[in-house]
């Protein structure tokens, strides 16, 4: 069944969009990532104009994250206090990101910068997570002892300390603010929730327990992506409601299934799977940059019918 999308102005199969939303929803529920780093490139691939894909992607993340965050709230695996600090940083970052986006677009190199930063971020984070979780799995197999989590580093010595009871932390608000802001910038530029960066940052930099990390990152993501969606709707008119609804019908169902799968897996297994996924996307994007494209030319509609 073909559906004509009013804002994207293309006709695509409704089932393709439902399936796409569903797969990304499962991943989002399992790992606490919004799935934007998968859905935005997938939308490009099926022929949705990039600006519409980015804006609608953020809207879809709100939906799939919302149902997942509800599931986490019920299991009390959300640190609301930490989430709010991350959110404050996120909103500032998103506002800066929108400004940055228009500047880069004018130069005409936004695609390259987005791709390069994807490859860089995903590569480093994926590798770190992969080896860390491999070590964790080997350790738990050998001794069955609980690995030491809380190591105090310079990060915990920064000023403006605050107590985060749910996470069992007493730490400075500066690192979560900075992390939140970085993720906000990425959300505005790449149409991603930023969970793939925030989740590892919370585990390795803030030392938060893995259990609350997923729920807390989702909490921050729904507000930041919601804010970004409205910014895109107002400035670029690029949010496609029909596309969003189809993606999110698949997405919300997938997210529910994903949350359940995630609850059954061990934290280390979850982390190594996410690491593999992140590395796979990174490799795909890196290859796109390295291999000669089949068509060297690309067309951009500069807008403004005349």
């Amino acid at each position: 069944m073909q559906v004509y999308l009013p804002i994207a102005e293309v006709s695509v199969s409704a089932f393709l969009l439902l399936g796409l939303g569903g797969i990304v929803g499962v991943l989002s529920g399992m790992f606490g990532v919004g799935g934007g780093f998968l859905i935005t490139p997938l939308l490009f691939f099926i022929g949705i104009p990039p600006s519409v894909a980015v804006a609608t992607g953020t809207n879809q993340i709100v939906a799939s994250s919302f149902s997942a965050v509800l599931a986490h709230l019920k299991r009390k695996t959300v640190d609301l206090r930490m989430g709010s600090v991350l959110l404050a940083g996120g909103l500032i970052g998103a506002a800066v990101g929108v400004k940055l986006f228009s500047v880069l677009k004018a130069i005409g190199q936004i695609d390259l910068l987005v791709q390069l930063s994807y490859v860089g971020f995903l590569g480093v984070i994926g590798l770190l997570m992969f080896f860390e979780s491999l070590r964790a799995i080997r350790r738990s197999k050998r001794a069955g002892s609980v690995p030491k989590r809380k190591h105090h580093t310079w990060i915990h010595a920064l000023p403006f300390k605050m107590k985060f009871r749910t996470s069992g932390l007493y730490t400075s608000v500066i690192p979560p603010l900075v992390i939140g802001a970085m993720v906000g910038v990425l959300s505005a530029i790449m149409g991603v929730g930023g969970g793939f960066i925030m989740v590892p940052a919370m585990i390795y930099l803030l030392g938060m327990p893995t259990k609350v990390v997923v729920g807390t990152s989702l909490f921050q993501i729904i507000f930041v992506t919601g804010f970004t969606t409205i910014m895109h709707a107002v400035t670029n008119f690029s949010v496609d409601m029909v596309l969003a609804v189809l993606l999110l019908i698949g997405g919300v169902i997938g997210a529910q299934i994903g949350t359940r799968i995630g609850a059954k897996l061990k934290a280390e297994q979850l982390r190594i799977l996410l690491a593999i996924l992140v590395l796979a996307v990174c490799a795909k994007l890196a290859l796109d940059l390295l291999i000669e494209p089949s068509d060297l030319y690309s067309i951009t509609r500069a807008g403004g019918l005349g």
């Binding site: 809207n59 919300v252 997210a255 067309i299």
Partner: protein, 262 residues
Amino acid sequence: MMRWMMRFFIMLVLLLPAFAYAAEDTVPEEIIADLSQNKVSINTNFDGSNILVFGAIKRETPVPSDAPLGLIITISGPSEKIVVRRKSRVAGIWVNTDAVRLDKAPSFYAVSTNAPVKDVLTSDEDHRFRVTIRQAIRSVWTTQLAPDAPQFTEALIRQREDQNLYQLNEGGVKLAEDTLFRSTVALPSNLVEGNYSTRIFLTRNGRVVSAYSTNLDVRKVGMERWIFNLAHQKPLYYGLLSILIAVAAGWGASTVFRYIRS
């Protein structure tokens, strides 16, 4: 299809008296034509559309048999600004390095003829009336004419031909008795809305002797129209509504799942 046939037939009947009269008009041959529909409505399940262009050649004099007759039909969608970029390898990775800006290029362009273009249209006439795809784009070059700019235009044409947005259908116009003609143009599903100008050229020896033009109105209707208008006229409400729908769907799904489980 039935409706087109009917209109085609009615047209024929109406035209018969015209052939009977021997008027003293100076134009020896004139095109009379119509479209199977002058409106294309884009609704949610829009999946492309076929437009039948049909008509007749009205003559005051006997059919001149010496010069070969040519018929060319063009349909052009709204023009837009286009930037064509080319990648090249910089430090091992492929990067956009060159760009050519086209101030206006049609979002859709279809050319149908009754014979190979070179036989029915001289290049002078093509240039004058901007008939073929290359002419339709080239006519609006403005800035940054790089030495290899034609390659960028060729890339645009190639990519849009792959998407059926640019079409050349030589032999797509069926001509009967050198008088009646018809042609079907397939509009793809990824149409931009606006006025699609339809032109018909009658040529003799490659020279345009008569031209006819009409408009095809492509519009979004129903829900498509409503969403499009809301998004452009009340973007803040539209954005909030999008979020609201997303949140409602997320919450609804989780409620349904909880209900199923209990």
